[in-house]
């Protein structure tokens, strides 16, 4: 399906033939054959668990295929570990930049490369070469600052320079734009094009089709481990691609819940008029948490039955906001009240969970129980409920029934409720964490990055569920780096910048440009700004 005749005459830089990979009984990749052409931008798209990451990890030597073969520049290769892939000129830019926070940006880039000359001349040579690369691609990376102090965009530049510095001709990028602010995304897409101009070949995974179509030459659609089709971007449309991504086996029956519309279609969120302020934050200051700034003079009202979204670039205080509301870090100054209860007093009682539930941004570390069965993960927080215990004895059968109900409602792909949660794919782990948070009976939910790792279909189901719960009266605070997600879901959207709220807008009249500027700390007066706090009557 892939070899269009006009592409045949261009050289295939990487040829993948019949690659298969299975994990247990699951085929992650099945008989994939694909040519990556020299100097193209090749996007790989697909649902969660479609096999994108597996294929990239095979290319980069992290995983070994069960069958099939690969050729680079016509020569058959077999990578046993990433070192061999690097030697063959393949580099990988990870979604979460892997940095040494205590080392300078320069040292982060050259770490692991062989040195010529003494340590001093080595640094000087490296600096000269990197300065050249920075100038060539328009990077503004301060090479001598400690990496831990740098912004996310700069850390990503470190990752990219690391690959370029090793003279990799082929770059694999795993969801590179998912944590960038919109103006940074524009710059990043420009960078991809200039890399192509400089003769590099790029392979990138993305869930954001608009970005894919803005840059890619060809698009490969994976579906349940198989390569469905490779499209020429210029001869295809977003609609067609979405249809392929969610394509079901005709035998299995179509899915009426999924339309082939753009995923970020505007949500019709219902809001109860004139709801009372349910969550009230007044001039709140907190300490920094985990390298993120704390809140600085932060005020916000959330009315009952409202969905409020807070966006911003990574590391601007979203975590502090979620933690202070959940009662996990102290309020230094100001006041936080939820449903009339002062949060500091809740904290003393040790259970803010009676009024709210929170989905953290990294569920595996903060919400799930690694190494424990699925049913134990779903029970967490409800183990003392009367329905699950008889005089201290845990009713395991009931807990398992409850877990199955939640897992099915959340569309989790699992084979056994006794299997460990860490044996699921990333997207499914996110679904498990969501299942537990949404399955409770709390009236106020804080969701950090709810759509992270979910594919288009799962995201849409999630958004529908949130809206349905909202109609029932549940109040939401959604923290996300993804502006589209916030605009699709929320009534009001605000932006956090360095611990303070830059401004708020009604989602249905919000301007992406202004929100994008706010994310970078460029405040401008705008007539669409709405107050974050209800005026006193």
């Amino acid at each position: 399906m892939n070899g269009d005749s006009d592409n045949r005459d261009r050289t295939a830089l990487i040829r993948i033939e019949g690659i298969s990979k299975r994990f247990g009984s699951l085929w992650a990749n099945r008989d994939i054959s694909l040519d990556i052409l020299e100097g193209e931008i090749h996007a790989v798209v697909g649902e969660n668990g479609a096999g994108k990451s597996t294929l990239m990890n095979i290319l980069y030597g992290h995983l070994q295929p069960n069958g099939g073969r690969m050729m680079v520049r016509g020569k058959p290769v077999r990578f046993r570990h990433p070192g061999e892939a690097i030697r063959a000129g393949i580099g990988m830019v990870h979604q979460q930049p892997l940095i040494f926070p205590q080392l300078s940006a320069l040292e982060n880039i050259i770490v692991g490369t062989s040195s010529r000359g003494g340590p001093l001349s080595r640094h000087r040579n490296a600096r000269d070469r990197l300065a050249g690369l920075c100038a060539l691609f328009g990077f503004d990376l301060p090479l001598h600052e400690m990496a831990g102090d740098l912004s996310f965009a700069h850390r990503q530049q470190i990752e990219i320079l690391r690959v370029l510095y090793r003279e990799a001709g082929i770059l694999i990028l795993d969801e590179p734009t998912s944590l960038l602010a919109p103006p940074e995304v524009e710059r990043f897409l420009g960078l991809l094009k200039s890399l192509r101009q400089a003769g590099h070949t790029l392979l990138f995974i993305s869930h954001r089709l608009r970005e894919v179509f803005a840059t890619a030459d060809r698009i490969s659609v994976l579906n349940r481990g198989r390569l469905l089709q490779t499209l020429n971007a210029s001869q295809s449309t977003i609609e067609e691609t979405v249809r392929l991504i969610v394509h079901e086996d005709p035998a299995a029956g179509g899915d009426p819940a999924v339309s082939s519309k753009e995923p970020a279609s505007k949500g019709i969120a219902v809001r109860k008029a004139g709801g009372e302020p349910y969550v009230v934050l007044r001039n709140v200051f907190t300490g920094a948490s985990d390298g993120e700034p704390g809140l600085i003079d932060f005020s916000l009202d959330i009315r009952e039955g409202e969905i409020v979204g807070i966006g911003g670039v990574v590391g601007n205080g979203q975590r502090s906001l979620a933690l202070v509301l959940a009662g996990l870090i102290p309020v230094d100054r100001g006041s936080v009240r939820i449903s009339g209860i002062e949060i500091d007093s809740v904290r003393r009682e040790g259970d803010s969970r009676r009024i709210l539930e929170r989905l953290p941004a990294n569920p595996m570390e903060e919400a799930l129980l690694p190494g424990r069965a699925l049913w134990e993960n779903l029970l967490l927080g409800r183990q003392r409920d009367r329905e699950f215990q008889v005089r201290g004895r845990l009713d395991k059968a009931e807990a398992i029934r409850y877990a199955c109900r939640l897992l099915d409602a959340a569309d989790v792909a699992y084979s056994d409720v006794n299997q460990h949660v860490d044996s699921l794919s990333g997207g499914n782990q996110q679904k498990v964490a969501l299942a537990r948070v949404l399955g409770g009976s709390r009236r106020f939910l804080i969701l950090e990055q709810p759509g992270r790792g979910l594919d288009i279909r799962a995201q849409q189901r999630l958004y529908e569920r949130i809206r349905a719960m909202n109609v029932e009266g549940v109040t939401f605070l959604i923290l996300s780096y993804d502006l589209e997600e916030l605009l699709a879901l929320c009534h009001r959207v605000g932006i956090l910048y360095r611990g303070g709220l830059t401004g708020m807008m009604e989602a249905n009249e919000a301007s992406r440009e202004v929100l994008g500027m706010w994310m970078l700390g460029i405040a401008g007066s705008n007539d669409r700004v709405v107050p974050a706090v209800q005026p006193r009557l």
Binding site: G24, D351, A367, L369
Partner: protein, 362 residues
């Protein structure tokens, strides 16, 4: 439960043992290899240990009495490990528990046995618990790693006991021992044969292990403890009192080690000796981890290690092998078990391969 569910359960339990069993088999093979290198037939080694430990009623009684402290210190280590804490300090807690209980029994001699025996046990357990508490307090309040603090507190306890037993609590001799405890504090034999016999202690220890196993696996508290052991952050966010559980289990762990010491005094030595413990506290670590710190299986490792301990002099007598060989056997087994993740992945690889071959793939 239907047939498919049962099959899956069996597969699940095979899965959970898939690292441990091959690791133990490998460990035993290594021990056999070492025996060959030392010029001993592995079969002779095994039969010597077996007859040395269980060959006669006397030997069996001795072995059983050695099982008690191993079960209890093994349980102590396992219990703390459920919440991801390592109690390396059982030796100190055991020594202190033994001294405290024997000093108490001597002082409270007039009490009737029915009161004196349980009180002596309580005092021993209390002393062990009190010696464990500072470590968990330091961990929670000051971030001191419990392995370091409990390890060092061992030496503090041992030397403190040595000072006390040579001074204020001693029997006036330079032997480093307390006066004998009153007969009312001594556990009676259920069955006796000459000078040796069997008390209720090993059975009590076994009951404790089973009780703890049921408590952990069946109750809502046990669930919370497992959750804490899996992730303290997630548990805390879910409203589980993480610090409280860690404190409780750690103190309980110290109490069990102290109880082991008190039982040694009340059933074996009838007084505290400076050197009464051949390292039961440290052996508890081996006993616990040879069965993956699961209290339901401790009886197996407890009996095995006690057999080794009971048979050590027979190695010298009939095989001319140094008794230290049992330390080597323990060490080899422990190292093999520590490598079980490796064995598990190898097992899974073979299993997938087998299934592939069976389903006709390639």
């Amino acid at each position: 439960m239907n047939k498919a569910g049962l099959g899956r359960r069996i597969e699940g339990s095979i899965e959970s043992l898939s690292g441990l069993v091959p690791a133990l088999v490998f460990g035993f093979l290594m021990c056999a290899l070492l025996a060959v290198l030392a010029g001993v037939a592995p079969v002779d080694l095994a039969t010597t240990v077996w007859t040395g430990a269980w060959g006669s009623p006397d030997a069996a009684a001795t072995t059983l009495s050695k099982t008690t402290p191993l079960l209890l210190t093994g349980l102590a280590v396992s219990l703390a490990y459920q919440t991801n804490l390592l109690n390396i300090g059982c030796e100190g807690q055991l020594t202190l528990g033994a001294l405290a209980s024997s000093a108490f029994a001597v002082a409270a001699a007039p009490l009737p046995g029915l009161v004196l025996i349980p009180l002596t046990m309580l005092v021993g357990a209390g002393a062990g618990a009190a010696w464990a508490y500072p470590a968990v307090w330091l961990k929670q309040q000051r971030g001191v790693h419990e392995v370091i603090s409990t390890l060092l507190m061992n030496y503090m306890a041992i030397y403190l006991c040595e000072y006390l037993v040579l001074g204020p609590l001693g029997d006036g001799t330079a032997m480093g021992r307390t006066p004998e405890i009153p007969t009312g504090a001594v556990w009676p034999f259920l069955w006796r044969h000459g000078a040796v016999g069997v008390t209720a202690a090993p059975f009590l220890a076994l009951l404790l292990c089973i009780g703890v196993h049921l408590w952990l696996s069946r109750t809502c508290w046990g669930y919370e403890i497992r959750a804490v052991g899996s992730s303290t952050t997630s548990s805390r966010a879910a409203g589980i009192p993480v610090d409280r559980w860690q404190t409780r289990l750690f103190v309980l762990s110290g109490a069990l080690a102290g109880l082991a010491g008190a039982l040694e005094v009340a059933t074996v030595h009838h007084r505290f000796y400076r050197t009464f413990s051949p390292g039961y506290g440290f052996d508890g670590i081996t006993a616990a981890f040879v069965v993956n710190a699961s209290p339901g299986w401790l009886w197996l490792s407890g009996l095995f290690l006690a057999s080794l301990r009971a048979a050590d002099k027979w190695l010298q007598l009939s095989l001319q092998v140094t008794p230290n060989a049992i330390v080597i056997i323990q060490a080899v087994l422990l190292i093999s078990v520590a490598c079980q993740a490796r064995f598990r992945s190898a097992w899974q690889f073979m299993l997938t391969r087998f299934k592939e071959v069976r389903s006709g793939y390639r």
